[in-house]
């Protein structure tokens, strides 16, 4: 019978277990008992070094420096209670304060607790010299993050902080412990698995007086991988300097590949501040500041796009053969749609598409929008990748919002022709991130390809290959006509971005003033340069600045300086 064989097998399993327990408890019992009584296995951790972050030409943006940390082992302190007062004397600290540190950092009897972080070399040497008086105190040399460029590219880099409860539940299986340090935001967060070092250490057996008997085992620590970014820190610096004391964002990318050359958001923060206790006031401030310095506006900020959207409306109208570039509409300064009057910001009289783009004439685009209808506008907004994440390798990217008739109906509200007219000039519910707007301009700059923006070029030894852009299938003649309009915006005397100081910078672009309820309007200037052979697609965005001309001036400043420094 097979059940007998199962019985025998079960019996054998039991005999194996009894044998194993017998071996451990009876044969080796004395040995293990002595191990447990003396608590004599001790772990001495050895930290690895977290990966560095570099810019496109290998300049180190985030480095590691050695820092001296004074640590105590609680088990030893219990045996030598005098140590704390000795230590307090040497460090010029009060005994209760050190005791409080120890309480806060306690993990287990043998895990060292750091009582003085990042001590100066002198203190470290002082402790080492007095070692005989300080049983249980050690100097641990730990790597510490260094930021040679201070707060430059802070949003892209992210920062390091103590692990929070949400992260620890996700990461526990990967060996993370409470009190570990992990990346928050930016590259530090999204590439945490690559950057992170693996802790090593030694397990030693010690005798009853705490002296090392023998090494039980050793595991070397492993360093994290270095990460190379696509941004050029020299360009990043010029862009960020232009944004100082302003609220806004700027993105520069290669239109052919989607490679990000610079990505700035202002106000910013200093990534090194978050692990140091002394900076708690600064940290509180950056988190509670109403201007949200922690937000990377380039990818996480969603704003109404304003007239920039006219480029999309124009492309749609040409593509759907609703107009030809020579088609003229008359602008008397306003247009009645339904029962309401829609204004233009000036009176433009009769103009064709190129002129209308150059002057950013609203009436012309009201006409286009009404010719196209809302569904086609929605289609084209989606086609140009508005309303969804670009998939850039940074966390917390917002997707923006593209309105549509069906979405409106789901909220049980109606869609009027006036909404269509507004949609055509980028007002209404449409929301876009600065990165999306730069990506939109890249499509016009590269002749119709939608590229995926990326900011990491290499992780360790592995090169990251950019994804090939997807052809949107827009006819070249339509792109050419829109581009002529974009060029006119900067080049024509009456263009909205002609501030007379572009010199030999051949920029094409579109301004946008997006009205915000109850606050000053946002100012956009997006485009690409040089016009004949575009190498940069860009977006300069200023929050609540009032007029788009401010963004134009800022872009002009940035590109003039880049030209001066021979960076473009």
């Amino acid at each position: 019978m097979r059940i007998d064989k199962i019985r025998i097998l079960t019996g054998i399993l039991f005999l194996i277990l009894i044998g194993g327990v017998f071996y451990l408890q009876i044969v080796k019992g004395g040995f293990y008992y002595s191990l447990s009584v003396k608590n004599c296995i001790r772990v001495m951790p050895l930290e690895g070094i977290r990966g560095r972050i570099m810019d496109s030409s290998g300049r180190v943006l985030v480095d590691n420096q050695m820092s001296y940390n004074i640590a105590v082992i609680p088990y030893e302190l219990k045996k030598n209670p005098k140590t704390i007062s000795e230590l307090a004397g040497l460090l010029n600290k009060s005994v209760p304060r050190i005791k409080k540190e120890i309480e806060k950092g306690f993990i287990s009897s043998f895990s060292p607790i750091i009582v003085v972080k990042d001590a100066d070399k002198k203190t470290a040497i002082l402790i080492e010299e007095n070692k005989f008086r300080l049983p249980g105190v050690t100097v641990r040399i730990l790597p510490k993050r260094e930021y040679p460029y201070y707060d430059l590219a802070g949003h892209v880099i992210g920062y390091l902080g103590k692990i929070d409860s949400w992260r620890i539940t996700r990461l526990r299986d990967y060996g993370y412990k409470s009190k570990d340090v992990v990346g928050f935001g930016g590259i530090e967060e999204i590439l945490e698995p690559a950057l992170r070092s693996k802790e090593g250490g030694t397990q030693v057996q010690v005798d009853h007086r705490g002296r090392m008997n023998k090494i039980v085992s050793f595991r070397p620590s492993q360093n994290g991988k270095d990460v190379y970014l696509t941004i050029d820190i020299r360009i990043q610096k010029i862009v960020e300097e232009a944004l100082i004391n302003k609220k806004g964002a700027a993105v520069l990318m290669e239109p052919e590949s989607g490679k990000i050359i610079a990505m700035a958001s202002s106000p910013g923060f200093y990534p090194g501040a978050f692990l140091e206790e002394d900076n708690s006031a600064y940290v509180r401030d950056v988190f509670s500041n109403p201007d949200s310095p922690m937000i990377n506006r380039s990818i996480s900020g969603q704003y109404p796009l304003g007239s920039v959207f006219k480029a999309v409306s124009a492309a749609a109208a040409l593509e759907k053969k609703k107009i030809i570039p020579a088609r003229r509409f008359f602008c008397p300064g306003k247009l009645s749609v339904g029962t309401k009057e829609f204004n233009c910001w000036s009176r433009h009289d009769s103009q064709d598409l190129i002129e209308a783009m150059t002057h950013s004439c609203n009436v012309y685009f009201y006409h286009l929008a009404l010719l196209l209808g809302p569904d086609i506008l929605t289609d084209y907004a989606l086609k140009f990748a508005l309303g969804r994440q670009s998939g850039i390798d940074l966390p917390y990217e917002a997707s923006g919002y593209v309105p549509s008739v069906s979405k409106r109906k789901m909220k049980l509200r109606s869609w009027y022709d006036g909404d269509t007219a507004n949609f055509g000039i980028g007002q209404g519910d449409l929301l876009v991130t600065p990165l999306q707007s730069a990506r939109l301009m890249a499509v016009f700059a590269n002749g119709g390809k939608l590229v995926k923006p990326y900011i990491v070029s290499r992780i360790g030894d592995e090169d990251i290959k950019p994804e090939a852009g997807a052809d949107l299938g827009i006819t070249q003649s339509a792109i050419k006509a829109v581009n002529e309009g974009l060029r006119g915006v900067v080049n024509f005397e009456t263009g909205t971005a002609n501030i007379g100081s572009w010199g030999n910078l051949k920029v094409a672009g579109k301004t946008g003033t997006a009205q915000v309820y109850n606050k000053l309007s946002h100012g956009w200037f997006v485009g690409f340069l040089p016009y004949d052979k575009p190498r940069i697609a860009f977006c300069v965005f200023l929050e609540n600045t009032g007029m788009s001309i401010h963004s134009v001036v800022l872009a002009n400043q940035i590109f003039s300086r880049l030209r001066e420094e021979k960076l473009i």
Binding site: R2, L17, I18, L24, Q25, I41, S109
Partner: protein, 362 residues
């Protein structure tokens, strides 16, 4: 006497479990872990209720609910995985009110039920059940397909221990049902051939654990640390143990997961070799009772189910204890009736309750 065999032994084990849990958390009370003890008490009460309810329902009436239960368990498993997918790491729990439900525990019961039902069904023209005549397809492949879905979902979690356990339960039940031996052997051989491929699908930490088992020094600070500390805990118990509440390994926090997967370490440290013999004896008693009930039952479903339950308990206990004493890799399986954890406790009690009812029928 036989009537009270299973509840009596289960009662003793549960008492030992509570005593051990109390001892484990006793010095850690300051950290608010006393709720572990309280929760376990509630679960045990629920478990006993389930045991008595199921021991009083005629088990053949459960047959109608087998497939809905199986579908529900698989659905919960998928659900847990879908939610885990958004996060990193293994996700094995569904949080309901104040407790965590672990669907993989319920899947074990569902698989035993379904396999028992499958192998106790007669074909239309058959006068008596003859599993030996079954083809490879009907005897091996079809029942394998039944467990393939939950099995792959559990591996995906990833929960190596439960996956292995499901496989062992499956093979034992197929063997017991009378399927031709060469089918089983050919499947085992196939498994041995494809296991290197399987290695690629393991998560890093699971590979680490297997490597650590082969050589504990491979990772002395991670998984290897647990094995070493657990061996110290067990070994230091010697013949009589250190006495209740006097263990040091668990209480000084050397042994991780001491109230769940490594509770055997705490128990054996405090009760010694004699205590271990007593506990193993209780398990053996329950398991052999299941086998005896299986043998005595004249209903094929009853036979299969009792055996499946006995096998489940035997392997689970074997894997857990052998990992605590360093004989097998750390795979993370609870010790039935001993470890802290409501789902495992509830499933064990339900299974034993059904077996108890099968016993009545004989």
């Amino acid at each position: 006497m036989t009537k009270y065999a299973i509840p009596a032994a289960a009662f003793l084990i549960v008492c030992l479990s509570l005593a051990t849990l109390y001892s484990d958390i006793y010095p850690k009370n300051v950290f608010g872990e006393s709720s572990v003890f309280l929760r376990q008490l509630i679960w045990i009460a629920l478990g006993w209720t389930a045991f008595f309810v199921f021991s009083r329902i005629y088990y053949r009436r459960l047959l109608n609910f087998i497939y809905p239960f199986y579908s529900l368990a698989v659905f919960l498993l998928t659900w847990v995985l879908a939610f885990g997918g958004a996060r990193l790491g293994a996700q094995r729990w569904i949080k309901i009110w104040w407790f965590n439900l672990q669907p993989s525990e319920f899947v074990k019961l569902a698989v035993i039920l379904v396999l028992s039902h499958y192998f106790s069904r007669k074909g239309l023209g058959e006068i008596r059940l003859d599993i030996r005549r079954l083809s490879f397809f009907r005897g091996m492949l079809l029942p394998f397909l039944i467990i393939a879905l939950p099995f792959s979902l559990i591996l995906k979690q990833p929960d190596l221990g439960t996956g292995l356990l499901l496989m062992l339960i499956f093979l034992s039940m197929v063997y017991f049902s009378g399927v031709k031996l060469r089918y089983i052997i050919s499947v085992l051989a196939l498994g041995a051939i494809i296991s290197p491929v399987f290695w690629h699908f393991l998560k890093d930490y699971q590979r680490d654990r297997l490597l650590v088992f082969l050589n504990p020094d491979f990772d002395p600070l991670g998984a290897g640390y647990t094995i070493i500390q657990s061996k110290i805990a067990v070994g230091s118990g010697r013949l009589f143990g250190k006495g209740w509440l006097s263990g040091t390994q668990g209480q000084l926090n050397f042994l991780p997961e001491s109230h769940t997967d490594f509770i055997f370490g705490i128990f054996s440290e405090e009760t010694g070799f004699l205590g271990c013999l007593f506990l193993l004896g209780l398990y053996l008693f329950i398991i052999y009772s299941c086998f005896r009930i299986s043998e005595k039952s004249d209903d094929n479903f009853g036979k299969m189910f009792s055996l499946g339950t006995g096998i489940m308990l035997a392997f689970q206990m074997y894997i857990n204890i052998s990992m605590a004493i360093g004989l097998s890799p750390v795979v993370g399986l609870p010790l039935p009736l001993m470890s802290y954890g409501g789902s495992s406790l509830l499933v064990t009690f339900i299974s034993l309750g059904i077996v108890q009812n099968i016993n009545r029928g004989t």
